[in-house]
């Protein structure tokens, strides 16, 4: 049984576009599924439907085996979620948050204290546990948010842009913890992101969403393979050698444009790289820079949508959040 299943899932907003447009999902147990897309693509709306915060306009979805519309309480018992903005009470301490969350998840009273301590240690907040959250940094809030999502040991975890706004250290630490959860505890992770690197590093499979529709799905390697073979770019140490270097590279693939030097799309793939180095050496041509470019998920996104994901600002699909202005159609 898949941990997350969705069939023809739709969400429309009054006077607004169709935020999610007949998407199908099948996320296996223990898998990290990266949901990649630009601003307003429908990522957060999908998460809100799968976590029972927002009823779908049409279609069905099951999480941990339960229908998100008709079996909401059962779903909520089996999921943890860290939404786009760490929803914390600035007046409570980290420890108070965890104890409250444990109680609301109906955890036995005698387990709450130990579980709170264990999670605070795991996310590196033991020393700050009794400080009010209002004084926490962004990274600390994110880590507490993750700990709150894990209080009741959920088998399915939803992380909605968990690393947006974090520095690289905090981001790497969070990636490590998410990876550990999937590998060691078998937690299924549904992760929305607009960071290509995050999806590439963390996700077992990636779904690319644009304008509410899934435009591509597969492992990062499969998706990149759909786009094409890797390329090599060489920048000669002496600009006068540019033509000769270009001739050598042309033996290994079709020339493509390069701003700084010469580049080719490799005919055989990355195994050509050693041959290129040997050929350059044999002709005593020195290069200042030689780089193998693997197709990136951005190339995939570009190929599928005609736009690039790089440089997109953090997503703010606030209209999709319950409690704010937009109403269901």
């Amino acid at each position: 049984m898949d941990a997350i299943e969705a069939e023809h899932l739709v969400r429309e907003f009054k006077n607004g576009p169709r935020a999610v447009d007949r998407i199908d999902l099948a996320v296996r147990s223990g898998e990290i599924y990266g949901f990649l897309g630009p601003n307003g693509a429908g990522k957060s709306t999908t998460v809100h439907m799968l976590t029972t915060l927002l009823p779908p306009t049409a279609g069905t979805a099951r999480v941990a085996g339960y229908d998100v519309v008709h079996e909401g309480p059962q779903v909520r018992m089996r999921i943890g979620a860290a939404l786009q903005e760490a929803a914390l009470d600035p007046l409570l301490t980290g420890r108070e948050h965890l104890r409250l969350q444990a109680s609301l998840q109906a955890m036995p009273r005698n387990e709450r204290r130990a579980r709170a301590g264990e999670l605070l240690a795991r996310v590196g907040l033991s020393e700050a546990a009794d400080r009010k959250v209002g004084g926490y940094s962004g990274g600390m809030k994110r880590r507490l948010d993750l700990a709150l999502a894990l209080v009741h040991r959920p088998p399915v975890l939803f992380l909605d842009e968990p690393t947006t706004g974090l520095d690289i250290q905090s981001r790497t630490a969070l990636w490590g913890e998410v990876g550990r959860l999937a590998r060691e505890e078998g937690v299924t992770v549904f992760l929305t992101t607009q960071y290509l690197e995050e999806a590439d590093v963390l996700a077992d499979r990636v779904g690319i969403i644009d304008h509410g529709r899934i435009v591509a799905e597969g492992t990062p390697a499969e998706l990149k393979a759909q786009v094409g073979r890797p390329s090599v770019e060489a920048v000669p140490a002496d600009p006068a050698d540019r033509k000769l270097v270009g001739e050598i590279l042309a033996r290994f693939g079709e020339p493509i444009t390069s701003a700084k030097g010469v580049a080719v799309r490799l005919r055989e793939g990355e195994s050509d790289l050693a041959g290129i180095v040997r050929a350059l050496d044999a002709d005593e041509l020195k290069v200042e820079h030689l780089q193998l470019h693997q197709p990136s998920l951005d190339d995939v996104f570009l190929a599928k949508t005609g736009r690039s994901l790089e440089g997109e600002a953090p997503e703010e699909e606030q209209s999709a959040r319950p409690g704010l202005a937009m109403e269901p159609a």
Binding site: P73, A81, L91, L324
Partner: protein
């Protein structure tokens, strides 16, 4: 303790804790009504010489007002806190747990009622310290606390309703002056039968807040006045029932899961 009761208790405790951690939310509801009481008691003391004025102590007469003012502050604080939970997404966090939605409202109001009772204790203590002796005796004081609890609950539910409908702390705060208008056009400073201006007497008579004040006042200066108690408790209960119904409905809409 059942899981539901435990959740309500913890949410009520959170409500009290965060009120206490915002000194302005504690100090103003306690100090402002007492300041107004001191000013009015000094400035309007001569009223006690009016024929038919029900007591010789204006402090005893005016002490009823802080109980209602305190409830108004509770309205604003409860509403503002709940609106903040909506704005920060904390309500969504609560919605993501298997708890029943009504526990959120019950917990929030539990905190408001607790603060309301604490405020009532302070007001009454100040009154006792300056020589007010409740005419209805110790049992009357118990009834007074019961009334303060009911009024806090009703007004707190109104604040919660406003917060749940608007989702904005600013919107909740903007209705606060409107509540104060009701207070000032009531019998807060003079008995209705002694109000000379006919239009003002009519407004005060039509204003339900007058009966809430007169209920407290009867316990403090008259003794057991069945009519005043029935009107006060009846109106407070009606406000509470309507406000709770509205707040529960708004919560269901807000937490549509």
């Amino acid at each position: 303790m059942s899981a539901f009761a435990d959740q309500v208790f913890l949410l009520a405790r959170r409500s009290v804790v965060r009120t206490i951690r915002q000194p302005a939310n504690v100090v103003f509801p306690l100090v402002f009504p007492m300041l107004l009481l001191a000013v009015n008691s000094g400035g309007l003391k001569a009223e006690t010489r009016l024929p038919g004025f029900p007591t010789k102590s204006f402090v005893a007469f005016a002490l009823a007002v802080p109980f209602i003012q305190g409830a108004l502050f509770a309205t604003m604080n409860a509403g503002t806190d709940l609106a903040r939970d909506i704005q920060t997404g904390f309500l969504s966090r609560l919605s993501l747990t298997p708890m029943r939605g009504i526990a959120v409202l019950a917990g929030q109001l539990g905190g408001v009622v607790t603060m309301g009772v604490i405020q009532a204790t302070v007001y009454l203590s100040v009154g006792l310290a300056v020589g007010v002796r409740p005419a209805s005796g110790a049992l009357g004081v118990l009834v007074l606390f019961g009334f303060a609890l009911l009024v806090s609950l009703g007004f707190g539910a109104l604040g919660a309703f406003a917060a749940l409908r608007t989702g904005s702390g600013e919107a909740v705060q903007s209705i606060f002056p409107a509540f104060f208008v009701f207070l000032f056009i009531s019998s807060m400073n003079i008995p209705r039968n002694l109000i000379a201006a006919g239009w003002f007497r009519d407004l005060a008579t039509a204003n339900p807040v007058s009966y809430l004040i007169e209920c407290v006042r009867s316990l403090l200066i008259t003794g057991w006045d069945g009519q005043a108690l029935a009107l006060g408790f009846g109106i407070a209960a009606a406000i509470t029932v309507v406000a709770l119904a509205l707040a529960s409905w708004a919560l269901r809409v807000r937490m549509a899961r």
